[in-house]
């Protein structure tokens, strides 16, 4: 029986991964970019921000969320660093820490929503409530997606499934998404909560 060569140069495969993850990031960036454009329009239309006599929420949980997601990104970089050097022992610790801080971020978001409601801001409280709740919901949904992606790395990191080369490339692509979510949160924090 005739055999067909089904192989591909690993360099080409790596480039494919880079191209695909970059295109995916552009798509995610457009989604959040549209939301931020909307925010700019809403904000520009109001004489006073927040409108309707509402006040900005306390900065405690938003700031804590920023710190937590920042730390998780740092741990993720550590994870990538150790994966690149095939030091899986330290990589495991960093991955678990990234996951833990990712979950902590979600916890902070839930607490933020509670605080908002206690201070009388609901998702139906005019455009301010809609923006604060809706945008953080959408971002948190993406963080859940990010955590699912991190969980995908658990088996290859802990049990060597997939092999070293695949783990390295997967770590790179998922890292892009995880850091992207951190950047999006930073923009949300600066735009909606701080100024």
């Amino acid at each position: 029986m005739e055999t067909i060569d089904l192989t591909i140069d690993p360099k080409k495969r790596k480039i494919a991964g880079e191209v695909a993850s970059t295109v995916a990031m552009v798509s995610f960036a457009m989604l959040f970019g549209t939301l931020f454009m909307g925010y700019a329009v809403f904000r520009a239309q109001q004489v006073v921000w927040p409108p309707m006599g509402l006040s900005l929420p306390p900065l405690f949980y938003p700031t804590q969320s920023t710190i937590v997601i920042g730390i998780s990104s740092l741990f993720y970089e550590g994870f990538r660093h150790f994966v690149e050097r095939d030091d899986l022992g330290k990589a495991k610790i960093c991955l678990v820490a990234t996951l833990a801080f990712g979950l902590a971020f979600i916890f902070c978001q839930v607490k933020l929503w509670e605080v908002l409601e206690l201070s009388g801001v609901y998702h139906y409280s005019g455009i301010f409530g809609s923006v604060v709740f809706g945008y953080t919901w959408i971002h948190t949904a993406h963080v859940v997606l990010g955590i699912s992606s991190l969980l995908y790395l658990v088996l290859p990191t802990f049990f060597g499934v997939l092999g070293s080369a695949n783990l390295k490339s997967s770590a790179g692509h998922i890292g892009k998404f995880w850091h992207f979510l951190g950047i999006v949160w930073l923009i949300v924090y600066l735009m909606i909560f701080l100024f």
Binding site: I4, T7, S27, G38, W137
Partner: protein, 575 residues
């Protein structure tokens, strides 16, 4: 060390063939049939709309009583709003997109660039599954207690908010659009990466068939702009389900709540590129077919490819011409108008190149060629009439009239479906290994193109005479009563066009039972897919081909092979 890719078995079982298929050719067929089913559904809705406009208050014959028993077989006003909403949405997202982009993107990209499959077969499969599920949700919306979405395919708030469209139908519409967006984005990632990374050795970007160029540019637009609609759709769902206030009407003028016009901006930032998302694959396919059947190289190949790129870039900058009547600042309207007119330059180059390809060609009037010539004609008309809508002065009069409906049907519906049918007739041998009947195909073309022009030309004339779109019964206005005969004519043409599709269905059935086996290269063309057997085997090529010349090497008098074309795998014979 080399790594395995595309390692999936040939689809032999029911499950692997029809449900969980990784093979790009099978996924292409899945998209094709899904698109055809939705084309039939959307087409039937169009018939109901046309019947209502030609015969307001008259019961629909045959199945009127079945569909609308409470109104004695007459299409009621609320159902009419649902019909034009669902017709537009289904045709654009679940008929044109699956056929042109899903089916022919999947079929042609790997075959024409010399690859064994898409780079991410699993993502490809998921892309189809998302499209399928989203389509089912869109249909389910029609079965909800208050019926389907009724806010128009543009879903402008407040028509699309709970205030204008109560019930779950419009919410399901938005969810379906969002899921469809995920599918399109998955497809786009796959298409772009496959074209960049899996081109056969020797195949530069300017050695790719123009169909691949069109599909690549479409994928780029999809990746960038579909998420914009996704964001708008998501906020719309929030407004409907959670009572947030992003698009609450009138509130921006007072204080504290949202802005319905913002949705229009978001929609058209996506919506205008969407026109090109749909039409670029059709342009690419037609550019190739015109060259193949003129038996000469595509005139100005590079200029055509670069014009497509220029149109792609410019298409992202002109969306405001859809919103001239929203009290936009004159500075903005003039800017958008100027940018819109700028698109005429690459479009004219592109169109002139089509004519240049045909000029002095040894034209073979096969069915794919007839459909391609049909595209040249209808796109010319559609493109030219767009100038009036891109100009503020004329748009203020023509906005929201049937002139707009006729224009966009010429460009987005007629051009795209004619190109789609041309592509089906042309690549059917590679998909199924049989030839569709040429005589029936030609009858299909003539029976379609003549009433088609009656429908869309008639719509433009009615629009010019002042008939607004989306009116249930325009003839309650005295000045429109004189348009009743014209509406009857358009409806008759639409029914004739609907019946013309019987030729196509008959052809499919005839070919299934009695179709002639196709040779490997029945059309005598040199692109890579024609170097493979018909139908194309699993993994496409015995070995990855090495490309040595462009896709349109036809009619070279110095060829000594006894053929008038060269395969892309052959050394170029200089003219």
């Amino acid at each position: 060390m080399k790594v395995l890719v595309h390692a999936h078995d040939a689809p032999n079982t029911f499950l692997s063939k029809y449900i969980i298929s990784y093979d790009h050719k099978v996924i292409a067929k899945q998209f094709l049939w899904l698109g055809m089913v939705f084309l039939a559904i959307g087409g039937l809705m169009a018939m109901l709309i046309r019947w209502t406009l030609a015969n307001p208050g008259v019961p629909m014959p045959f199945f009127g009583h079945l569909l609308f028993p409470n109104s004695g077989g007459v299409v009621p006003p609320d159902s009419y709003a649902m019909l034009f909403t669902e017709h537009g949405t289904i045709m654009i997202f679940w008929a044109i997109t699956p056929i042109l982009i899903g089916a022919f993107g999947n079929l042609l990209i790997p075959l024409q660039i010399g690859a064994r499959d898409m780079i991410f077969p699993t993502l490809n499969m998921l892309s189809f599954h998302f499209t399928f599920v989203s389509g089912v949700i869109m249909l389910l919306a029609l079965c909800t207690p208050l019926g389907g979405a009724a806010g128009g395919w543009t879903a402008y708030p407040t028509l699309s908010l709970n205030l204008g469209s109560p019930g779950a139908g419009q919410t399901l519409w938005a969810i379906a659009i969002f899921l469809f967006g995920i599918s399109s984005t998955m497809g786009a990632i796959n298409y772009i990466t496959t074209v960049i990374c899996l081109r056969a050795p020797g195949m530069g970007y300017f050695d790719m068939p123009l169909a691949v160029w069109g599909l690549l540019l479409t994928a780029i637009l999809n990746a960038i702009f579909v998420p914009v609609l996704g964001a708008g759709g998501l906020l719309l769902v929030f407004d409907r389900v959670f009572e947030t206030q992003y698009f609450l009407a009138g509130a921006a003028a007072t204080s504290g709540t949202g802005d319905p016009i913002l949705f229009q901006h978001v929609f058209w930032i996506f919506g205008h590129p969407e026109v090109y998302i749909l039409i670029l694959p059709a342009w690419g396919i037609v550019s190739d077919l015109l060259s193949f059947f003129s038996r000469k190289p595509a005139f100005g190949y590079k200029a055509t490819a670069l014009s497509m790129c220029a149109i792609t870039v410019l298409s992202t900058l002109v969306y405001g011409h859809h919103m001239f009547t929203t009290q936009m600042s004159p500075l903005l309207t003039q800017s958008f108008m100027t940018l819109t007119m700028t698109i005429s330059i690459p479009s004219a180059i592109f169109f002139a190149n089509w004519l240049g390809t045909l000029y002095k060609g040894s034209i073979r009037f096969t069915s794919p060629m007839l459909f391609s010539l049909g595209v040249v004609f209808v796109f010319g008309l559609g493109g030219l009439t767009g100038l009036y809508l891109g100009t503020t002065t004329t748009d203020f009069y023509l906005h929201d009239t049937y002139f707009v409906v006729g224009h966009f049907h010429y460009t987005m519906a007629a051009s795209v479906f004619l190109a789609g049918f041309g592509a089906i007739y042309f690549w059917w041998p590679k998909m199924y290994g049989t030839m569709l009947n040429e005589r029936l195909a030609k009858a299909h073309f003539w029976a379609t193109i003549l009433p088609l022009n009656g429908v869309f030309m008639g719509m433009m004339m009615m629009g010019y005479a002042g008939m607004h779109r989306r009116l249930y019964n325009p003839f309650i206005y005295d000045f429109l009563k004189k348009l009743i005969p014209m509406n009857n004519f358009v409806t008759t043409c639409a029914i004739l066009m609907g019946f013309a599709q019987i030729f196509f269905i008959t052809n499919l059935i005839w070919t299934y039972f009695k179709g002639e086996q196709a040779s490997d290269n029945p059309w005598e063309v040199g692109t890579l897919e024609w170097t493979t057997p018909s139908p194309v085997p699993h993994y496409n090529f015995k070995s990855i081909p090495i490309v040595k010349c462009g896709p349109h090497e036809l009619g070279n008098p110095k060829l000594t092979t006894g053929r008038d074309f060269q395969y892309q795998t052959e050394e170029l014979v200089e003219v």
